[in-house]
């Protein structure tokens, strides 16, 4: 898997390159600023990009802007965005095109390398990965607005993991259910919330996220 990496802190960049290469990824470009990132994304045509939001020269959301710009030029280009903070606004902008192949994670998540590399792979395969914090905030807002009130506690757990972009198998493993139990819960959630069920995992995640953003 060919990866373009953008991170301005040398130590973190080095650590990320090592982690990715240990897990069989090839880092074709590792850059430390916004303009170089945009060039690398367009020239290297990577399978996935791992991008820090805040990059030089402006030290604002340069990385996110470059990623969004690259995705405008190459729709569906897989991008996993890392940040010290998760912002609903940025998550929405990444999800806006509605065609998946995006991820948005807190930087701390890289400490769990297995999960991090799994997230990179899922994004590269066209999936959607959202940080648990984004989903937790969406769910607590949904609770206050009464949009998820009819769900049982178990169903809410399933919904949370599903919205993070996990597959049925991964949800089952995390919650110690059988896969068929997860499928049953999922069907019930979709019926209660009035979301059209979809066999495609990614469509399903996007539908759930769209529902929670209301």
């Amino acid at each position: 898997m060919r990866v373009v990496l953008a991170e301005d802190l040398f130590l973190l960049r080095d650590g990320l390159i090592r982690t990715l290469e240990e897990h069989g990824c090839e880092v074709v470009a590792a850059v430390d600023n916004g303009p170089a990132l945009l060039r690398a994304l367009l020239d290297e045509e990577p399978d996935v990009a791992v991008v820090d939001v805040r990059l030089p020269p402006t030290f604002t959301d340069e990385g996110l802007q470059a990623a969004l710009e690259a995705r405008r030029k190459r729709p569906g280009l897989p991008v996993l965005v890392l940040s010290q903070y998760v912002e609903q606004l940025y998550a929405n902008e990444l999800l806006a095109t509605g065609d998946g192949a995006v991820g948005y994670l807190l930087k701390d998540r890289v400490t769990d390398t297995a999960q991090f590399v799994d997230a990179v792979r899922r994004v590269a395969a066209g999936g959607t990965v959202m940080d648990p914090q984004v989903i937790a905030r969406l769910l607590s807002r949904g609770e206050a607005r009464g949009t998820v009130g009819s769900l049982t506690a178990r169903e809410r757990d399933v919904l949370e993991l599903m919205a993070e972009g996990r597959s049925n198998a991964a949800v089952a493993a995390t919650l110690h259910f059988s896969e068929s139990a997860v499928a049953k819960h999922t069907a019930s959630i979709f019926a209660k919330l009035g979301i059209a069920p979809s066999a495609d995992d990614n469509r399903r995640v996007l539908a759930v996220l769209a529902y929670l953003k209301r």
Partner: protein, 413 residues
């Protein structure tokens, strides 16, 4: 178009009022001069203080009218000294008032009479000329038209309408001119204005320093109790893990996992702290998007209208952001509202933020510390906060901060 015409008519009516009031001012001015003339015989000493107060009341009303009618702010002078006539005689504001009382009828009164003359002469031409010209023979002039036939009568009619229109159209401008003339005569002396400004700056500077010091203390405390404490715990756990690494690997492993959890918590603490100091979206994108981000986290329906031409100075952005955040929190906690509208506008070097909710109203600045805190924060920028919250709602908070743009638009603000 229609509203502009109505405004012009209102202005014309106000010109009429102003001309009558100018005459009333003459009366007051005469009274004061009479009191001054009677000073040598002693009666003046008793007459002067009440006369001066009457004059001040008249000039205060004129200041109020200038603000209400034409939005011209005239800074009031220091209040009249309460003491005897000698104190009044030494008061600069009193002499300014007196000068105004004598000049106002001559200059101000004549000024506001100009549109009135046009309107009244115009109305006379349009309404009376068509009927009287047959009776008046060959010497009947209306302005420069000799009215002696139907065509010349029609010309007079048209001219009359034109005069009326010109008078009405000129009225708003003349009224503004009149207010400025009043400001020239009635403003507090420059030294008074500067003294006030210094007082205000002194007060707001003290407030700003207090706020900043309190903020630093809070950050210090948060760091001490949060991240710092967790890092100490982390060091201790690591130390134990190293000791147990050879003798008891499973426990060491547990401890290391614990270290990972603690480090995650320390990061979370720091994140919360930084968000409270300067929210990342505000730094990245500016006020518009930062408020949008706030709205996304709020469970009310928040509608945002942001018309900002570029980035504002960072301290202003920060104050405005925390003010909006406070307003949203208030709406959530106290108003029972379901919807909030936030408008951000920048016009004429002024940032205006309007936050309206459809809640139960009845909010009061004096109750609770939130609004007072925001007002204090805006004070530092010469900003203002106006609250309109009748019982039953809706509640509208309007905040205005004068500021220059710090950069033209670069991203979606």
């Amino acid at each position: 178009m229609a509203s502009a015409f109505i405004r012009a008519c209102v202005a014309a009516w106000r010109c009429q009022l102003a001309s009558l009031l100018a005459l009333a001012v003459t009366a007051v001015g005469t009274l004061v001069v009479l009191a001054l003339l009677l000073l040598p015989v002693g009666v003046g000493f008793r007459l002067l203080p009440p006369a001066a107060r009457l004059l001040r009341a008249a000039s205060d009303r004129a200041r109020g009218r200038a603000a209400r009618w034409t939005d011209v702010r005239i800074s009031p002078p220091e209040p009249l000294p309460a003491g005897p006539a000698r104190a009044v005689l030494g008061d600069e504001g009193f002499w300014r008032d007196l000068g105004w009382a004598w000049l106002e009828p001559v200059v101000g009164g004549l000024l506001v009479a100009v549109p009135l003359v046009f309107i009244e002469y115009g109305v006379f031409g349009a309404l009376v000329q068509p009927f009287v010209w047959r009776l008046l023979g060959d010497t009947n002039w209306y302005a420069f038209v000799l009215v002696h036939s139907t065509p010349t009568m029609l010309a007079a009619l048209a001219l009359g309408l034109a005069f009326t229109a010109a008078g009405v159209c000129a009225a708003p401008a003349v009224l503004r001119l009149h207010s400025r003339w009043g400001r020239w005569l009635l403003s507090a002396p420059r030294s008074t204005e500067l003294a006030r400004r210094v007082d205000r700056l002194d007060r707001t500077r003290t407030q700003a320093m207090d706020t900043q010091a309190a903020e630093l203390r809070r950050i210090e405390r948060d760091l001490h109790d949060g991240a710092q404490a967790r890092l100490v715990a982390l060091g201790m756990t690591l130390e134990r893990a190293v000791r147990l690494l050879d003798s008891d690997p499973p426990t060491a492993r547990e401890l290391l996992l614990d270290v990972r959890r603690t480090s995650a918590q320390a990061l979370e603490d720091l994140r919360g702290l930084v968000r409270g100091i300067h929210p990342p979206v505000l730094a990245d994108r500016g006020l518009g998007d930062a408020v949008r981000a706030l709205a996304l986290d709020c469970f009310l329906d928040v509608h945002i209208e942001a018309r900002l031409p570029g980035r504002l100075p960072s301290p202003v952005e920060s104050a405005a952001y925390f003010a909006v955040s406070e307003m949203l929190a208030n709406a959530v906690k106290h108003s029972g509202a379901r919807e909030v509208h936030i408008a951000l506008e920048y016009e004429g070097a002024l940032l205006r933020i309007t936050v309206t909710d459809n809640g139960r109203g009845g909010a009061d600045v004096s109750r609770g510390t939130g609004l007072t805190g925001v007002r204090r924060r805006l004070d530092t920028f010469d900003g203002t906060l106006a609250l309109h919250s009748p019982p039953g709602g809706p509640t509208t908070v309007t905040m205005e901060i004068p500021c220059a743009l710090s950069s033209p638009k670069t991203s979606s603000c």
